[in-house]
Amino acid sequence: MERTFAREVEMLRRGDGEYFEGEGILAITKALLQAGVSYVGGYQGAPVSHLMDVLTSDSKGLMAELGVHTEVCANEAAACAMLAASVNYPIRGAVTWKSTVGTNVASDALSNVASVGVMGGALIILGEDYGEGSSIIQERSHAFAMKSSVWLVDPRVNHPRIVELVEKSFELSEASNAPVMMEFRIRACHVTGRFATKDNRKGRFSMNNRIPEPEFSLDRIALPPATYLQEKMKIEKRFPAAIKFIRENGMNEVFPGENEDVGIICQGGLYNSVIRALQQLGLADPFGKSRIPILCLNVTYPLVPDEITEFCAGKRSVAVVEEGFPEYLEQAINAQLRKGNLNTRIVGKEVFPMAGEYQSEVMLNGLARFIEGAVPAGVDLGRVAKVTKFIADTKSLAAELLGAPIPKRPPGFCTGCPERPVFSAIKLVERDPEIGRMHISADIGCHTFSTLPPFNLGNTVTGYGLGLASSAGVKDALARHTISIMGDGGFWHNGLSTGITGAVFNKHDNLLIIMANGYSSATGQQYLPSSTAGGLRPPDTVVPIENALRGVGVKWIRKQYTYRVGKMQKLIKKALTTKEKGLKVIIAEAECQIAKQRREKPLVGKALKAGKRVIRERFGVDEDTCTGDHSCIRLSGCPSLSVKPNPDPLRKDPVASVLNTCVGCGLCGEVADAAVLCPSFFKAEVVQNANAWDRLLDRTRRRVIGFLQGPPEPAEPGAPSDAPVEDIRVAAE
């Protein structure tokens, strides 16, 4: 990954009397160092990629000084397994990944570590990728905490408090011999803020101060009979210890308010939204002083029974603000009140939606409905109703004024993305009557965008690296072909073992296309074992994908540069029609355009400054030969291949147009050629800092051509003045 995190790393060095300023995920990273971790591992994924990016890109050797071992793990299971170090030894460690998908992968290791218990503090930083901006299935991590008896911390979003709770979580883990999960929602990871830093702490044992003797104890092995004992330990020792620690250390917070007759219990991560909604309803001030008392659960598992009963005692009605389904907290609180013989009415999912993120409006309407139902003494219900009505009215007026709903804008492949051409090729292959529509087992990664317009390619997505494995059941059930897709990220994450070895072992006779763009791109261009990074990575550390394939017995392996659409089309057809038996693998190779541009743009800039000859390549469309049928766009969807109102006074339909964001990948031309589209595309190469020969040649050519073209015409009336801005005009009938 060519990005530098020098500034961030500098931030991590700050100590007593200094301040940290930056995103939440970096604050957490800093907190880990202040807590004296000895090892950190993880697998990249939004919203926690940054944690690993920063630690592993640490060029200044801070980690070495502190003796912190950092590792970019092969997948989440590997990351979670790292916590084993804290099982036998008094060393603190943290691992991180995107949840719940990552937790699914990690759960084997998680169960084992949780069962045997830990000695040193073991912390799992979860990027709770839920709601708007999420890229995964919508589930709660809460269930994992419950089933494995690990504790779940859901901190209120405030930098100083988060840092404090990271420290406390390590102590909690040690006090109760259980791993602790801290979940951070997307916005919490990216929220900016500031806190007073403390000196980083060196772990008692670490790479710099090694443990003299290995420890052995049968009790720490997840095998019967120890497992029975471990289960009892959870219930008899760890649970009580955790509850005691949480209560004594005030990890949860009560914010008193004058309306003692009602209350709100919320997940820590939702506290800010609760306060904002109360403010809008005129029930809180900007500093969080609320008229209604609030119990903020920074630890959502386990609950502290006494805290619940004490808070609810003497209240008619209490709202439980809990995001996601099932409503574990609401159920647990209800049960606790029943045991405690309190008849406080718990209001939860009947005023808040069962599913989905609690964004501001959801929160506002939910709390409004709670208040209208609970009628707290002296609260002006009129104002509450007015606020919600005003918003509803505004929205309906807007809908009316706009006339039609605003078209969605789904994410898609970047400009010049090397994966796009592969799907253009697949579309063309499907046009071949001999092949027809295929069942495509898609996978997780940038290439999942193929399932969206304009390609709409991909019938199933079942998980990271599972593209091939997911074709096993369907491949023989369909009359037509089944093909699978896998990214190089998914390949190394588990696709090689789960998919390919399985397919070879079971003698699959299908096609797998591996998108080898050289990085784990969707998560921020992290390196993979097969990454060459344009030669930046030492070749002896690179493991080529084809070697791995041969190693597990794949015979039919072809590599193809993705941008050659015609060749790719032929190759795919060949793979589908060959008599040769067994798994066919096409490695579709070309570097991630973002990484490539990031590396090469500065170099080109330098070369230009230095007066070196540089050729800038881009594509274009002749607006007067384009008839506006947009076939080219349907086969590409490149952001820089757009449309503009037709300048021809007689034509109505918009013409295709290439924007100046074009990076000259050449796909337009390739598609126009392979699909026999239309003659409107042209490639233009601008020779910058042309040498004498270029200039001479150019002058001669222009003179001859100019002569043949005849005398220049006077400028057309009302013709474009200057600058190629037509392609961004507002379309108006």
């Binding site: 800010n272 939204s273 969080g288 605003i406 078209p407 317009p453 952001p639 490639k683 233009a684 020779v687």
Partner: protein, 516 residues
């Protein structure tokens, strides 16, 4: 407490992934920090960053840390409808999205939006015109915002060789909606240390606009009328004499186009063909209908007569004006050589199109019946900037004189005849039907497969709906409706599934509606 503001200022930035919305909010946060205000920003990157729509949310508490004396405001992480002071979007449709979500309210929201369009995939990939219309949106913005600042900021940015988000920052600073000094914003840009000079240029431009020192730059007109060849003069005079004002300019364009395409005689033919249509239009009281019949027939007749054969393509591609346009489009300096490669891939369609009918017809008939030949075509990569490459185009273009003797010419004129006849017949029965038939010609577009498909759909709809309607065999009013349905369906998907469905349901349904 009472002295302190009762709530933070809330602002949201709506942008497209990779558009620099993050940088913009970074500047604003920095400016607030420099002003000693508590500030918080958050965002939802992830997949949205890949060209999708995304938002950045910022809260500023307008009292300095000193004034607060250690008190910490609680700041939210989500933009809230009815709670926004400043809504900024880098593109027009995203502004619409903000309105739709109730983020813009009359009591307190200032809307700052650039009015340029970045078209979404759905809009772009429509086979016809799928563009989202902006007019309603401007109106909505004006009605819903306390204050709306809308103009093409991208155009301004480009005219200053700067970037959009810098101009946006200038506009925000100039709007005075945030309690931050203009100079402090500039300082934030300098602090970032990235492309400071060009960013400041954009910032100043946005500022200047807000101070009324400059007005929003004018984009080029959407439509660029063709320049008349001298030989078109007399014909254009005729048009001016005979045609009503509303359609004059359109018919003139048709004339200019055809003189340019083939020559005055051909343009003459155009007017002769259009004259009877104008006559019927007069009889049928076209005036009250803005002469829709003449206009649409005139439009598509001109387009059909100037069909794109290889001669035409070579002609357009070899013109001086085109070479100049491309140099501009690719931002090439005068001294910089520009190499141009054309991607041509003629097949039997194109080859036979320039054969004489007696040869072309049988050859094409054979080719279409032969699997190999149907898909046969040879890739020509022509370097039109080289003398030899240019000569190939130029010579081809010079074949124009021979065009009227080609097979393609014959077939096109044949189609035009049938189509015109249908329009004239229909006009006598049902004005709307006639106009619909005229519009049907919009299906005849594209090249190779797309073109073949277009022609097939055109012919099919013409024979199965238009002509029966025009001859009165089917209820004309029904036919008019049916035509519209079929035409839209034909443009719905390239595979033609939608058209098949539409035709099927039309065939099964009742063939009559309330008469005109």
């Amino acid at each position: 407490m009472s002295a302190l503001p009762e709530r933070p200022l809330s602002m949201v930035v709506g942008a497209l992934g990779g558009e620099g919305g993050g940088v913009l909010s970074g500047w604003i946060v920095r400016a607030a920090e420099l002003s000693r205000y508590p500030v918080q920003s958050t965002s939802i990157p992830g997949v949205a960053q890949r060209t999708g729509a995304t938002t950045y949310y910022i809260e500023i508490y307008p009292a300095t840390h000193e004034e607060l004396g250690g008190r910490q405001p609680v700041m939210a992480l989500y933009p809230a409808p009815g709670n926004m002071d400043l809504v900024v979007t880098s593109e027009l449709m995203e502004a619409g999205r903000m309105l739709e979500n109730g983020m813009v309210t009359t009591d307190r929201t200032t809307l700052v939006a650039s009015t340029h369009r970045v078209y979404s995939v759905v809009e772009k990939s429509a086979m016809g015109d799928g563009l989202f219309r902006a007019d309603r949106l401007n109106n909505g913005a004006q009605k819903l915002a306390k204050r709306a600042i809308l103009f093409d900021m991208l155009l301004l940015a480009e005219s200053r060789r700067s970037v959009l988000n810098a101009v946006l920052l200038g506009v925000i600073a100039g709007s005075g909606e945030l309690p931050i000094a203009v100079e402090t914003f500039a300082e934030a840009i300098r602090d970032s240390g990235v492309a400071v000079e060009s960013n400041l240029r954009g910032f100043e431009a946005g500022l200047a606009y807000m101070r009324g020192e400059i007005s929003a730059p004018e984009g080029p007109p959407e439509k660029t009328p063709r320049r008349a060849k001298p030989s078109a003069a007399s014909l254009l005079a005729d048009v001016a004499k005979t045609y009503p004002g509303d359609v004059q300019s359109l018919v003139s364009e048709g004339v200019k186009r055809l003189v340019d395409y083939q020559g005055p005689a051909y343009a003459q033919l155009y007017l002769e063909r259009l004259a009877p249509v104008l006559a019927v239009d007069r009889e049928r009281g076209g005036e009250s209908r803005k002469w829709a019949l003449t206009a649409e027939t005139g439009r598509y007749l001109a387009l059909m007569m100037s069909y794109e054969d290889i001669i035409r393509v070579a002609d357009l591609k070899s013109r001086r004006s085109r070479f100049e346009r491309i140099r501009k489009e690719v931002l090439a300096g005068d001294a910089e050589p520009v190499r141009m490669t054309e991607f041509l891939k003629p097949g039997f369609d194109e080859i036979t199109s320039v054969m004489p009918p007696w040869l072309g017809r049988p050859v094409l008939k054979w080719a279409m019946g032969n699997a190999w030949a149907r898909d046969f075509n040879f890739a020509m990569r022509v370097r039109s900037d080289t003398v030899w490459g240019f000569l190939r185009l130029w010579t081809l273009a010079k074949l124009r004189f021979y065009r009227p003797r080609t097979f393609r010419y014959a077939t096109e004129q044949e189609a035009i005849g049938t189509w015109l006849a249908a329009i004239k017949d229909a006009a006598a029965l049902h004005y709307g039907l006639a106009v619909e038939i005229a519009e049907l010609a919009n299906l005849r577009k594209g090249y190779s497969d797309t073109h073949r498909r277009g022609i097939a759909n055109f012919t099919r709809i013409l024979n199965e709906i238009a002509i029966p309607g025009a001859k009165g065999e089917a209820d004309p009013a029904w036919a008019a409706e049916a035509l519209k349905t079929a035409r839209t369906a034909a443009l719905a998907d390239p595979e033609g599934d939608a058209l098949d469905r539409a035709m099927a349901s039309l065939a099964s349904g009742p063939r009559a509606t309330a008469a005109e």
